[in-house]
């Protein structure tokens, strides 16, 4: 499984830095200030929770870090690259290699089997077929889903689908995992399992994790740092002592 390890954590290295970052959407005659001047720094290997009520701008912030969206002004530098200055093609490369994403609604492609979903990013990365199959199997083993690799997403439970989505997010060995309400559609038991996996990626693979959630309890239990947003502005940024890793191990199925 050593092949899935990202660059080792170095607390001094900055993974994500935003400066006076803004994302405004026009809507009718008004302007929605989804992200309104946020400056922050996330070090490599950190597990950060972005907290806030709905409409606070946390998902928009995540999309900017992911390179799915472009800032209206300001800068967002991920792994020393200013995303605002990248071309559409380079942003696609950023999403492919630098970040991995999981979503509340899993976002697996319904017409593909789990294995095909997981290896899809490898197709975009133009990796040869034989290697793709091995890598997809390894990633599915890591999330404990190798038995169901030939099923379609609709045949799987929510927890299983989110595991598949995690395997897909890992497959190109990104340094950063971006999770948007990863447990939002899951019951608490399954949610705990998924969070355990995310914590494992953070601790054992050294991935930087940015998780958007509105559940403060979840953030307190897993994150090392909690950033609170409201109306597109950063309102609080505090370190957190997560529950011990032992708990994470305990809940791993």
């Amino acid at each position: 499984m050593a092949s899935v390890i990202a660059s080792p954590p170095a607390s001094a290295t900055v993974a994500i830095r935003s400066e006076n970052l803004r994302r405004h959407y026009p809507m009718g005659n008004t302007v929605i200030r989804a992200v309104d001047g946020i400056s922050l720094e996330i070090r490599a290997g950190e597990f950060v929770a972005l907290l806030g009520s709905s409409g606070s701008g946390k998902s928009s912030m995540l999309n900017l870090i992911a390179g799915l969206d472009r800032p209206t002004s300001g800068s967002v530098v991920v792994q020393d690259r200013d995303l605002a200055k990248l071309s559409r093609e380079e942003l696609a490369k950023h999403r492919l290699h630098v970040v991995g994403m999981v979503f509340q609604s899993f976002n697996l492609i319904a017409s593909m089997t789990i294995a095909e979903n997981v290896e899809l990013p490898l197709r975009f990365a133009e990796i040869e077929r034989s290697r793709r199959e091995t890598m997809a199997r390894e990633a599915l083993e890591r999330v404990g889903l190798s038995a169901r690799m030939n099923h379609r997403p609709s045949e799987l439970s929510g927890g299983e689908q989110q595991r598949a989505a995690l395997a897909r997010a890992l497959i190109n060995r990104p340094q950063i995992l971006l999770a948007d309400e990863p447990t939002g559609n899951l019951d608490s038991h399954t949610g705990t399992e998924i969070m355990g996996l995310i914590r494992e990626f953070n601790q054992h693979l050294g991935m930087t994790v940015v998780m958007v959630t509105h559940e403060r309890a979840l953030a307190e239990r897993y994150a090392q740092r909690m950033i609170f947003l409201a109306d597109g502005k950063l309102v609080d940024d505090r370190p957190n002592q997560p529950a011990s890793a032992a708990i994470g191990k305990e809940v791993r199925s």
Binding site: R88, A92, K93, R95, N107, S111, F124, R129, N172
Partner: protein
Amino acid sequence: MKLPDLTELALRNLRESILRNSLTTIGISVGVASLVAMLSLGIGLQQLASRRLEKSGLFDTVVVTSRREMRGMGREEERNGPNPGESRILDEPVRKEIEQLPNVLEAYPDIRFATELRFEDKPHLTMISALPESAKSNDAFDGMQGAFFSSATAPEAILQKSFAEELLGKIPPLGAPEPNVADLAKPLLGKELVMRYAQRESAPAPPLRPADGNDVAGASYSVVSREQKLTIVGVSDLDPESMRGPMRAKVFLPLKLAESLHVMQPTDLREISSAASNQPVYSSISVRVKNPGQVQKVEDAIKKMGFTTFSILDATRSVRQFFAVLDLFLGIFGSLALAVASIGIVNTLVMAILERRREIGIMKAIGASDGDVKKLFFTEAGAMGVLGGIVGVLLGWAIGQVINFGTNIYLRRQSLPAEHFWSVPWWLVGSAILFAFLVSLVSGLYPAGRAARLDPVQALRYE
């Protein structure tokens, strides 16, 4: 994304909404089928026409007539070249001169005359023509019963099938099947024909006293009625002179024999001074050229000598032009259906974008570039084009076969020979599929571009 991956994903996506994509593909197939059917009809008819022309054996032949003949001249020919009255007579020295021209295989006089033949004491009036030795290789004698002339001077004759029917009194009524040439030849081969003809003989000036204002201008000749016995050596199935229309002969003699007979020719009346001297004057000379490519050059050279020429190539030039226009029109009609089908592709793919909006968003979120998305939609369009093209070619070929079959039943009922007038050459198969592919790609341009530009954040929000 690499091509094998693109193709795999595209085919998978096409399978996902199998009904809609099948219908679109069928639309392309129908378009390609109509294109293939139309063009193969045009090509088939053209091949049929050229086959007919080639079988005539006159493809490499130039027919030379004197301008004194004063017929068969177009307006342009009338204006250019010498005045007919002052132009040269087509005689033996001219024949030899033409034979010396580059690329000319041979030049032989056309001796043809209508006369009476007696067979078993019954008279038959027909057109007779002389054939050179080289005519032996003419395709028209492929299915001949019996043999070609034993020598260029042998008193022998080859009959055309229809004349054999006439001799035997076996002319089939209209609509009845044609009798077999072998059955016709059996009772005729080796039998004797008696040919009556008018021979031209030079004669001393008649001892007539000139009447008032009517002087004897020169030499004179006499016309003597003669008979020549001929042995039937062959009966030909095809008509070696099908291109000559009403002038075509039904009985053929060896050339040297015909020359030695000094048969009275229509030109003899006009060229009276030469005729009287027993020096042959020809109404026309056939010139065989090494290959059809040089026909034009030889024609030009002969025209420069001051004669009128005609070749099948002149006729086929307008035939080819006609078929080029016909093919163009058939092609345009055929393409109309394909144009309609291409709108179907645009529609299907635009629908697919709406339906797969979220999927496109997901692919972009996990690293697909605009190019990947564009290529995927392009490949889907292209795959529909190739599939539709293949099915369409098969369909078009099948339509052609059915129509060919049906028409041949009709032709047989009219007791006409069956013809293969439907042709699907390989280049048409290849280019029809390629054309369908290209049309699909063009149709895919807009949808693919639209899919590629989709904003992933918006697309992911879409449920």
